[in-house]
Amino acid sequence: MTAASLRVEGVTAGYGPVRALVDVSVDVPDGAVVAVLGGNGAGKSTLLRAVSRTLAFHGGALRGGSVSFGGRRLDGLAAAELVAAGVVQVPEGRQVFARMTVADNLRAGALGARGGARGRARGGERDRAWGGARARAHRRAAALARVHGLFPVLRQRAQQRAGLLSGGEQQMLALGRALMAEPRLLLLDEPTLGLAPMAAARIADTIREINAQGTSVLLVEQNAAVALKLASSAYVLETGRVALAGPAAELAVSDEVRRRYLGVVDETAAQDAESVSTSLPRLGRWPA
């Protein structure tokens, strides 16, 4: 097994009485980009939460199956320990620290960086810690420069409170923040949500670039066109189960995926659709 591949095996998870994932297995080989598609409520975010150990924050729990990264079981660790192991998630809905400045958000991103502030700087390792501190500062500066390069707006707005950024700007910040941790595996939950076309394209480029620098990516995306272009393989979730899986290129040409996720309406289907639904939905006016 390669050093840094993610294996999700037979995972079942849910929220209270709600079962959101049933026996889901997903593989992210080292250095790959893997996409997960699926309708709203299919369980995509739940899958990422199951990997990043944050289900508990939503009142959910992992009920079965295993998750391992680089051969190490993850399902016993705390969310924070995962970051140290190199797995970093960009959560759904951005979740930037609204009252902190953009700069502090990025600093927060670097808190759990591998070999980061916590963990090493303890006890008799003072010397190494000092040496490490300098190296760490360097790496952090480099990471910051990279993030600023990717999203110049984050440099311009460094002192603005993150909560006041526009939706798209927050999305950039969320991604930038995650990159500060220098992840080996990046879990992305709809990174292009709410982004303007150009910005979405830039995110796509960024993902590709990050991936080229050796970070594996597990990508949850509504934007299936982008996702399937970026990914080497893909999974389709439906009501918590894996409905389809395979190389991205193959999925991209499958009718099912084309119709449901790429929004490609092939001619006959379109005809069907139009003949069936000759009308728009209607709602009567409210009197008075």
Partner: protein, 307 residues
């Protein structure tokens, strides 16, 4: 087929996307394109400027929304679209400029007064209650149309009960229209993202608006759901005849729905007019759409849903 149906008010549904699974009775085809409903006023934004400490989010923006039309506002992230909505709905105060809805000046009014004039909106970042059911959430939309106060509700006066029943029926009607009926008893906060967006839309509809402001209504939806929602929006316009202002990054949806487009960049209006014209406008392409580099799907959102 890029650029979809452009003719104003095409025969109903002809090139429209598939409708939601809601009821579509035969009554539907009888009604042709509905003109603006009576009493739907024009929205006129003039010289709108909003400044935050050291940042001009909107800079002298003007546009007009014709009664009964869909007016799209597009622009890159941070261009000021949501800020514009926030001013229209009274959440922010404009630094200067005016917003007139028919005879009413909106700037300076508190949000609930603006809502009282028939302006409803959805939120880009969901603003739904975490525990209340969908049905209660929608009922909240009826607030401005109902009267029962502490006394009437506390004493359960018959008037309050009657009001509740009457408006409850309308809420179910709207829920059926938006496809939310099966979820009426679910807590809104635990629904999947896509459905939450629909609840937002339904709640706004429940206020029986004359002007509906939609902030990225299809963001986070699968493409099938996007089509359904777009059809829903078209359905709202056609059956209610109200004006709709739409902020959306999905150019497919914008092109399909909008009668007119205003483009913002860094708070300034850089273009405006008919959708096709705007889409070809080099300034817009530069600032927003990007040189569509087909190789990597440069503007992936654009063209989604129909190519």
């Amino acid at each position: 087929m890029r650029g979809a149906p452009r003719s104003r008010r095409p025969p109903p549904g002809s090139r429209r996307p598939e409708p939601p699974s809601g009821p579509d009775g035969p009554a539907a085809d009888a009604a042709g394109p509905v003109p603006a409903a009576p009493g739907v006023p024009e929205l006129r934004v003039t010289g709108l400027t909003v400044r935050f400490a050291g940042l001009t989010a909107l800079d002298d923006v003007s546009f007009t929304v014709r009664p009964g039309s869909v007016h799209a506002v597009i622009g890159p992230n941070g261009a000021g679209k949501s800020t514009c909505f926030n001013v229209l709905s009274g959440v922010y105060r404009a630094t200067s400029g005016s917003v007139r809805l028919g005879g009413h000046e909106l700037t300076g009014l508190p949000p609930h007064r603006i809502a009282g004039l028939g302006v409803a909106r959805t939120f880009q970042n969901l603003a739904l209650p975490p525990y209340a059911t969908v049905s209660d959430t929608l009922m909240l939309g009826r607030h401005r149309l109902t009267r029962a106060g502490f006394l009437a509700a506390g004493l359960r006066l018959p008037s309050a009960a009657r009001e509740e029943a009457r408006h409850g029926a309308r809420v179910r009607e709207i829920a059926a229209f938006t496809g939310l009926e099966p979820y009426l008893d679910h807590p809104a906060g635990a629904l999947p993202y896509g459905l939450q967006k629909l609840v937002e839309l339904g709640r706004a509809l429940c206020t029986e608006p004359r002007l509906l402001l939609l902030d990225e209504p299809v963001a986070g939806m699968t493409s099938a759901a996007r089509r359904r929602t777009a059809a829903l929006v078209a359905g709202i316009r056609d059956s209610l005849g109200i004006s709709i202002v739409l902020v959306e990054h999905d150019m497919g949806v914008v092109m399909r729905l909008a009668d007119e487009v205003t483009v913002l960049d860094f708070g300034r209006r850089i273009a405006g007019g008919a959708p096709e014209a705007v889409q070809r406008d080099p300034e817009v392409v530069r600032a927003y759409l990007g040189e569509a580099a087909p190789e990597d799907g440069g503007a992936p959102a654009a063209g989604r849903g129909h190519r």
